[in-house]
Amino acid sequence: MMWLLRGLRNGVLTTRYPARPDPYQNSFPAAVAVTDAGRQPDAEQVADGCPTGAIQAAPDGRLFVDRGRCILCGACVRARPDLFAWQPGAATATAHRGTLVVPESTETDESLAALRAALAARVRRLRRSVHVRHVDAGSDGSDEWEVNALFNPVYDVARLGIFLTASPRHADLLLVTGAGARGMTEPLRRTLDAMPRPIVVIAAGTDAISGGLFAGSYATLPGVGDTLPVDVWAPGNPASPFTLLHAILLALGRAPTDAGVRR
């Protein structure tokens, strides 16, 4: 009874996102941006400073950051504030792996639009409510905290029709965390096989996208993209609850359009 009374106080805690932007979503660094699009004479050397190879130097000396590999360590921002800067914001997930590379997408707008349309067609029946199944494929443990946070009263994703399910048979959306540990390859495939079609797959976090710091380990694949047909990529190390929520809404074609991280 006492707990019931306390429960009544919860209403005011919940974020209004995505209907309105949430001030918190812009209060912490969510991604790295390249602030100087010009050619750098020492581009190779700058790229070498990144522990995961997320910084890429084009042959002409321009720099790119692959957010799918970035573990947000901040080494680049500290060493070269003239070239890199933190960017806040929740809307860092994308429906195409290539668009995680900034400042410039390697994809044309048409192919992106086609991809979104195809995804939208698949998820049409999910618009109102969606059941999420989570699988850990070799996380460091923090990713699960952030996924669980979606269900706390602050994010309260049930208000958006997003629910967790323990049964693969009732799941519409597979949310995968972790660096793609080889031991999880078979269990992942089995989980996918047990799910009804159509299915949407989200690679949640830099580890799931690329293996992160563990890419190249004898025990991991570089993320889960080779094992699963990933539809949405949610960067972050771990991906923050806002990024995860953005990824789910993106998968459902319900993402807010203007709250994105500017490129």
Partner: protein, 492 residues
């Protein structure tokens, strides 16, 4: 606090450690390092009461050595890992099942500390199947894909139907090759890996790693850095303890309490994020000190702490008088003090069973000696309720330590000392929310040649299968939550 290094033979090692145990030392860990193609060096770590860590080396043939487990049961899991990683057979080990890496062939193994290993080593579960079937037991698997949002791990209930079921634990599914990953990195690179060994204990792992490296640098950490380290370590502790509380409430079906504690935990993570830019305190600790001052003023931090406590304390008080909840925990998953002592159980799991050890007190570091943390030392019923009580008291003490650290903090001076390590091996420790984290770091020419992290989760999970006395299925979520462990730190 210091580390002493001594050497013995592999045949004398078990006896030597046993004698140390009988003299009141705690077995704290065992790791191996490849020396050459035909040898490895075993290093056992013993914690002295109220003192540092004694490291005992023994050079052993790579093929086999006399197992320690028969004389030192706490080495059981450690020797299985040595077999997994090196293919070395501890002769006389009671049950050498693969734990973190099942491989068909003893010759092709990662062998940390040695030459680069093959680019891919695929775990082979046939190795496990053979062993389990060979014992003629009936088993019920649970996992590795769990219901709910949890880390992957498989539990096998052996001999179901018996009063005391036996539980096999298989964390290998999420093995990431962490130890090999450290090798060849510089100190800054190693820190990034350490922060991700067990991500929910980022700060504790970063601290244990930094302490190991600092032991090779011989420079004291600036006092202000020590205070900032405590601040973040204690916020991490509160977040982890709240996670346990909310998982216990979830197991008991207390929906409102789950929501409330989920909110409190979120506020702590947001506070951490506002202090340093990462919700998990990543990037705060660096070898030699910390990366910068807190990004919140003393006043703003104090005000937010007050707000969190004003909301949290009544909920904790209410939880501790919610009798339906307490009844569910009382007597559940008991770890007898004698067993906890024999194993050297760590953290709240150990303290709830009468193991009076806490690295912040016994082997103080950073600003802890200055702030005088109080250890919970009057609980010994060893059940899930005792573990909860320890954590609730520790949350209270953590808030006090954070306030005390913030009050003393003056960030006008340097926040990091230059840290250039001598070649050698350093041992470092820190008390995570889960218990003591230990790091052995070997450095040559500024590069890591071997790094062996030992999480409290690894050490304590070995006890998990022993504490089921009632109906395993109904008790499971309570016992699992009350242990409060992370599989990432076990599977490595």
């Amino acid at each position: 606090m210091t580390t002493s290094w001594t050497e013995t033979s592999p045949t004398a090692l078990a006896e030597r450690l046993r004698a140390g145990r009988d003299a009141g030392r705690r077995f704290a860990g065992l790791y191996a390092t490849a020396v050459d193609a035909s040898h490895l060096r075993l290093t056992a770590l013993m914690a002295t009461p109220g003192g540092g860590i004694d490291a005992v080396d023994a050079l052993a043939p790579a093929a086999r050595y006399p197992a320690l487990t028969p004389r030192l049961p706490a080495a059981f899991w450690y020797e299985r890992v040595i077999h997994d990683l090196f293919g070395t057979i501890p002769d006389g080990h009671p049950r050498l099942d693969p734990l973190i890496l099942p491989l068909p062939d003893d010759a092709t193994r990662p062998r940390p500390g040695g030459a680069p290993c093959p680019a891919a080593l695929d775990p082979d579960d046939h190795v496990l199947a053979r062993r389990v079937l060979g014992t003629g037991l009936c088993t019920i698997p649970h996992g590795p894909v769990r219901s709910g949002v949890m880390e992957s791990v498989e539990y096998l209930v052996e001999t179901p139907g018996e009063d005391i079921p036996h539980l096999q634990i298989r964390p290998y599914y999420k093995h990431r090759g962490v130890e090999k990953r450290f090798e060849g990195l510089d100190l800054a690179g190693g820190l990034l890996v350490a922060e991700r060994v067990e991500g929910v204990a980022t700060v504790a792992h970063a601290l244990a790693y930094a302490h190991a490296v600092e032991a090779l640098c011989g420079v004291p950490v600036p006092p202000a850095a020590g205070l900032i380290r405590v601040l973040h370590a204690e916020l991490e502790r509160i977040a982890n303890h709240l996670d346990v509380v909310l998982r216990l409430c979830d197991a008991a079906g207390l929906g409102v309490a789950v929501a409330r504690f989920g909110w409190h935990k979120e506020r702590i993570l947001r506070l951490v994020g506002r202090l340093c830019g990462s919700r998990f305190g990543r990037g705060v600790v660096i070898p030699g000190g910390v990366s910068g001052p807190p990004r919140l003023s003393h006043t703003a931090l104090g005000a937010e702490l007050d707000r969190i406590r004003a909301a949290l304390d009544p909920d904790l008080r209410l939880l501790l008088v919610t009798s339906s909840f307490l009844d569910r925990l009382r007597g559940t998953g008991p770890l007898p003090p004698a067993r906890a002592d024999e194993h050297g159980a760590l953290g709240p799991v150990g303290r709830a069973s009468g193991c009076r050890d806490d690295d912040r007190v016994s082997r103080g570091y950073d600003a802890y000696p200055l702030l005088g943390p109080a250890m919970v030392d009057d609980v010994d019923t060893g059940d899930a309720l005792a573990r909860l009580r320890v954590r609730v008291r520790e949350i209270d003490e953590s808030f006090r330590l954070i306030r005390a650290a913030a009050d003393r903090l003056d960030t006008t001076g340097p926040l990091a000392a230059p840290c250039t390590p001598d070649d050698g091996r350093g041992i470092g420790w820190a008390e995570a929310a889960q218990g003591e984290v230990l790091y052995a770091v070997h450095v040559t020419g500024g590069r890591i040649t071997r790094c062996a992290p030992r999480s409290a989760s690894f050490h304590n999970l070995a006890l998990f299968g022993e504490v089921f006395t009632g109906d395993i299925l109904t008790d499971f979520p309570f016992v699992e939550a009350s242990f409060g462990l992370s599989i990432a730190g076990v599977a490595l």
